[in-house]
């Protein structure tokens, strides 16, 4: 028969990985371009959004979080959830606190 049994799976897999790599570069470029958007200071952190997609692409495409066992997926989801708890609940105080600023002193 014409096709050796092992070559195709590898080639297909490499092609899949290449597409993910290309997507990552495109997203990186989009993120880079987005940083040139004239966003007001307080909305600048939105620039990170394409980066979040890149993280997902690496986790799904390279780390195979969806293909592996359920437990691995559970851990990955937990990581994201608890990171959000830390950042959101941790930000609750500065976002709602009335701060009485003092002028910046020169550092010693």
């Amino acid at each position: 028969m014409a096709h050796p049994p092992t070559a195709n799976p590898v080639a297909a897999e490499l092609w899949r990985l290449f597409r993910i790599w290309a997507a990552l570069l495109v997203l990186g470029g989009a993120e880079f371009a987005a940083s040139y958007l004239p966003l007001p200071r307080s909305l600048r952190p939105l620039v990170i959004l394409p980066g979040a997609l890149m993280v997902a692409a690496v986790a799904v495409g390279f780390m195979e979080v969806k293909r592996g066992i359920v437990l691995a997926r559970t851990f990955a989801v937990a990581a994201m959830f608890w990171l959000l708890v830390l950042l959101a609940l941790g930000s609750a105080d500065p976002l709602t606190r009335t701060d009485y600023r003092v002028p910046n002193a020169q550092v010693r």
């Binding site: 437990l71 937990a78 830390l86 941790g90 609750a92 105080d93 500065p94 606190r97 550092v107």
Partner: protein, 543 residues
Amino acid sequence: MPRTLVKAGEVEGSYLTDGFTLRSWLLTTDHKRIAILYLASITVFFFIGGLAAALVRLNLIVPQGLLGSAEAYNRLFTMHGVVMVWFFLVPAVPVTLGNFLIPLMLGARDLAFPRLNLFSWYLFMLGGAVTLYALFAGGVDTGWTFYTPLSTMYSKGHVVLAAVGIFISGFSSIATGLNFIVSIHRLRAPGLTWYRMPVFLWSLYSLSVLLVLATPVLAITLLLVALERLFHIGVFDPAIGGDPLLFQHLFWFYSHPAVYMMILPGFGVVSEIIPTFSRKRIFGYKFIVWASVAIAVISFFVWGHHMFVAGTSLYSAVLFSILSYLVAVPSAIKVFNWLGTMHKGYIIFDAPMLYALGFIGLFTIGGLTGLWVAALAADVHLTQTYFIVAHFHYIMVGGMVSAFFGGLHFWWPKITGRMYPEMWARMAALVMFIGFNLTFFPQFILGYLGMPRRYFSYAPEFQVLNVLSSAGATILAAAYLLPLAYLLWSLFYGERAPANPWKATGLEWQTPSPPPTVNFIETPHVTQGPYHYPPPERAQPHG
């Protein structure tokens, strides 16, 4: 022929006789031996922390402070807090009873990552050595809470060294927690579904979730303190726009779950002792196990209650106060379930049960007083007073240390193959209960009256209560020395234990005392739930 109750034909020898060299202990990957290594370590740390406490209480018998120096006093209570929190309370039950029992309760031959387990002990010892060096070579005066800017800028103590020691021990915690979680998910014996696991496993699972999620935040926090102190690059420095409260948020994000790390294993131990000594299945199994999970989850949402007067926004304070009331609910559910288990049971007042009963009462008092201070207005008055000190000692010492001793006695026959002397044990439990209450109940009153904590001297009108508290501390110290003595004695002269001296259910009792290295000759197959005690009319108390 040794006087032994192990059945003929069973495996000769146990994990204790499987190698007598130092190498076989220090390079072991057997979870049972690692548990013994840890037990020795935490015993040493317990007495060091206890020594610091003794000196603190000694100082407080006169209003002007017996030791004379505020600096020395600050270093003593810091030593007490640091050693007790990180080198006794957080590790105690998980690394000793947890390491020993988890594979046995799972019907497994070891944990998922045995070499990681051994490595965790070495990390623990290294962290402990560095921290003890810092504490004895002059000490730290910041309290175990390391608040900035005292810790980062003004303290003259060995802050960086202590931070490094605790940082290292944090990795030991993470390794242990990781091992437990993966083992409970992946190494359960055939037929051992989640709802057939003993409550102890659910409690240790919940604890492990806290260990792996919260400890890394402590790690980065200590690192930031050390970097600010060493290189003057500080995110907490207000002079350049940094926020000292950021330290407190990061610190308490770990440290509030940390207090639940300390108590959850205690819940697990009590949940094993009560059914056994009531000869009755646990009441409301699903409620208890999901309560452990709920406590673990909600514990991450309440840390701001340590910062009510620190200057955070009122809105976040209100949010944290409400969430703190929420976290009390699953704990209360557990207390009701334990009581429900005992109701119409056949109660046996052996030493483990005495400790468990003490736990229920003292933990409840501690927990209820937590509700008082979770109320914003009340906390304004009570915070940083002895009320808080009494609150957490009722939970940690009255609760957790009682549970630790209860568990140690309960599983002592399994771990060592020997019975401890029952009358001495019951006496020690009673002395501990009396000494504990005499030490800490006066502190509730002191706090209510306004005596601040962490002060080496106090107003003269508080002296009587302080002297009562210090007197209680001496009784408590004696009560802790008793088990040290008779447990060591039992190793050589105690009656040899059968496989199941308490006629308890659970896989760990189906293997000899002490177990062979491989735990089970054949993999057990589990066909029924835990606590399958016969109905009370047919209960068979142990002989």
